[in-house]
């Protein structure tokens, strides 16, 4: 079995591709640089990320794929699934080896898998746009905590930036412990030093909340209850379209 060890970054993965073609030896496993090797392994290589190699591979792939497919690979990378790098490796290899563009050949299991993962990730991105709930802070910043399944907050920033161009906002991933802050001009990546001190169960502490905030939250909860048609109650459908894992940060669910 051939094993490549690299730094688990996207440029690193592209360097692996370059070196695999150089060695004419393709890995069955991709591991992080410092992980111990498994018992049975014929060849192992440690790959050092190289900007020039990475660029050459990426330019070659970009020439062979459509923009949509390029975007799909980025989305797949954001899924952070285990072994996603190996899948992408196989995918890129198929793309490189094929004389024609095969990105729409969904009868191929790897290509289909890529498109499925990409669908899941972009749906998660869309769900953040649906279910992010902002709370107004005393300093007029709107704050939205989230806990997405995949690392999809970066996908939503351009949307929120356009939509809420005239309000300061902070979108924060409480699981991955980072977020983006928009100060009416630029968006910057931020990290809380004391997450627990500011938010409890997704609700901002009273001292830093705007005075009208509770009123609008109550109004929204009132609306959410009043809009239900009792004759049609259907909690299964509700949970299907709005999975329970999002409920933690939803204002309307008390």
């Amino acid at each position: 079995m051939t094993i490549f060890r690299y730094d688990k970054s996207f440029p690193g993965l592209l360097t692996c591709l370059f070196d695999a073609y150089l060695f004419k030896d393709f890995p069955e496993q991709l591991l992080e640089t410092d992980t111990p090797l498994p018992l049975f392994c014929d060849h192992n290589y440690t790959i050092v990320t190289d900007e020039q190699k990475e660029k050459r591979v990426w330019n070659h792939i970009k020439a062979k794929l459509s923009n949509t497919a390029i975007k799909q690979t980025t989305l797949c990378w954001l899924s952070e699934l285990p072994e996603i790098d190996l899948l992408l490796f196989r995918y890129f290899r198929k793309i490189i080896d094929s004389p024609i563009n095969i990105e729409t050949n969904l009868a191929d299991p790897d290509i289909l898998k890529i498109s499925e993962i990409c669908k899941k990730v972009s749906r998660e991105g869309h769900r953040l746009i649906q279910f992010a709930r902002f709370q107004k802070c005393a300093d007029n910043t709107y704050f939205a905590p989230l806990e997405p399944l995949y690392n999809t907050i970066p996908l939503t920033i351009s949307h929120f930036r356009d939509r809420f161009a005239d309000q300061k906002f902070l979108i924060y991933d409480t699981k991955r412990q980072y977020g983006y802050y928009y100060d009416l001009e630029t968006v910057t990546e931020v990290t809380f030093t004391n997450q627990k001190d500011n938010i409890i169960n997704g609700i901002l502490k009273k001292e830093i909340t705007d005075e009208d905030e509770t009123k609008y939250q109550k109004l929204w909860q009132t609306y959410f209850k009043s809009i239900v048609i009792k004759e049609r109650i259907n909690p299964k459908k509700q949970k299907q379209d709005m999975p329970v894992r999002y409920w933690k940060y939803l204002t309307e669910i008390e």
Binding site: I102, N105, R133, Y142, D166, D241
Partner: protein, 420 residues
């Protein structure tokens, strides 16, 4: 009775508006303007929440007032009902919309109203809300306005300049039934505003060909709604009416609303324990067939089958009536034919057409692509040897197989299959 608190008003007026099923925020793509608030994303729109009845909450669906001079039998807000009544002021409503929007609760506003004094007076106030949102608050989110039957062409024109979508509800799909239940309304008062909307939209499109900066008129077109099960009309009447509506420009959606007995005392209406949810669902499926699957209305319902089959979906029903069209070869048939295979949706059909250029597709590829093979296997041939199709099993046989498997799952019991 006048009610002061915004909480009370919101409660009453949301409850008054909830029977309108239209919810979508699709059809317009508009980026934010400088110094403005909001955008619309187009595509399928954004649903921000889902209520306990499973319906999506995309827009703040609300009435300006639930006072009404009309006495329509099917409506909860009819004047003879003794219900708490409330009226929002324009500023209250604008404030609610903006504050909800800023917290990402909603995609925009869907404003309707009971008719007070006369149609023009009511329409004018609806337009005022939209105008304030767009001009004073520079709101670029979605606005859906109801056009009041009987409102003047000028007011509808002004409404369309601010709103993304306008709608007039037909409610009852037959003029005689409508007159019986809503003596103050007739088909003319409903179709007239629809025609105004169409006319203004077409004019605006023409104008925009010459001047790019000419204002857009209701870019997301118009929609309407019909109540199902309150009157004796069959599915053929309903679907033929929808089909003729879709044939005209600007009509984007027809909604079907299973009748809920809100005014049980009124003997002109049937007393239903449960709204006809299955029938409503079948009507939506038929609607989808007309809009996305290239079906004509008379292929779905005709004189010998005036009602949709409640046991199976309308596409399967069509396929069972037309065994001569099958089996369809997945690897060579045209896209339009692939769309007609039960168990194949628009997405799978597109994937099939793009993938089969690389290699022939077989049973397992189709399954992975997302085709519902349980249904589709009776209607196709693919790379492998043909299985028992509709021609060998007869339509009735296929129907029994499909209905049976569904039943089996429901009662969770094993059954011996004596047919095979």
């Amino acid at each position: 009775m006048m009610i002061a608190s915004v909480f009370e008003k919101l409660k009453i007026l949301a409850e008054a508006a909830k029977y309108d099923v239209s919810c979508s925020s699709s059809g317009t793509v508009r980026s934010n303007t400088k110094g403005g608030l909001g955008n619309t994303v187009g595509g399928i729109g954004v649903c921000h929440s889902f209520a306990a009845d499973g319906r999506c909450i995309s827009l703040l669906k609300i009435m300006l007032t639930n006072n009404c001079i009309y006495d329509c039998a099917y409506c909860i807000n009819r004047r003879s009902n003794d219900r708490p009544r409330a009226t929002f002021s324009v500023t209250e409503l604008v404030d609610l919309t903006i504050e909800f929007y800023r917290r990402n609760y909603i995609e925009g506003l869907f404003l309707s109203s009971g008719v007070v004094r006369n149609p023009d007076y009511t329409m004018e106030r609806l337009v005022k809300v939209a105008k304030d949102l767009r001009t004073i608050h520079r709101f670029n989110g979605y606005i859906h306005l109801k056009s009041i039957p009987g409102a003047s062409s000028e007011l509808i024109h002004e409404a369309g300049l601010y709103a993304d979508r306008l709608s007039v509800n037909i409610e009852i799909p037959n003029e005689k039934s409508l007159q019986r239940l809503a003596p103050e309304k007739n088909f003319k008062s409903i179709f007239q505003p629809m025609q105004y909307i169409r006319q203004h939209a077409l004019e605006s499109m023409e104008e925009r060909k010459s001047y790019r900066s000419a204002p857009r008129f209701a870019p997301a077109g118009q929609s309407t709604q019909m109540i199902v099960g309150a009157t004796p009309e069959n599915d053929k009447d309903i679907l033929q009416l929808s089909s003729s509506l879709y044939a005209k420009p600007t009509m984007r959606r027809v909604y079907y609303s299973g009748y809920i007995s809100v005014n049980t005392y009124d003997k002109r209406l049937p007393a239903l324990k449960q709204p006809p949810l299955v029938r409503e669902n079948r009507l939506y499926q038929a609607d989808w067939l007309m809009r996305f699957y290239h079906f004509k209305v008379n292929e779905i319902v005709d004189d010998s089958n005036p009602n949709l089959d409640l046991g199976i979906d309308p596409k399967l029903a069509w396929a069972l009536r037309h065994p001569e069209m099958f089996p369809i070869d997945i690897n060579t048939a045209a896209y339009e034919m692939i769309l007609r295979i039960p168990g194949v949706g628009v997405k799978s059909a597109m994937i099939i057409c793009s993938s089969r250029r690389f290699s022939h597709l077989g049973y397992y590829e189709l399954k992975r692509i997302g085709v519902v093979m349980k249904k589709a296997k009776y209607f196709i041939t693919c790379k492998e040897l043909p299985m028992q199709t509709i021609n060998e099993l007869t339509p009735l046989g296929v129907r029994n197989q499909l209905v049976q498997t569904r039943k089996k799952v429901e009662d969770g019991q094993l059954e011996l299959n004596f047919n095979s």
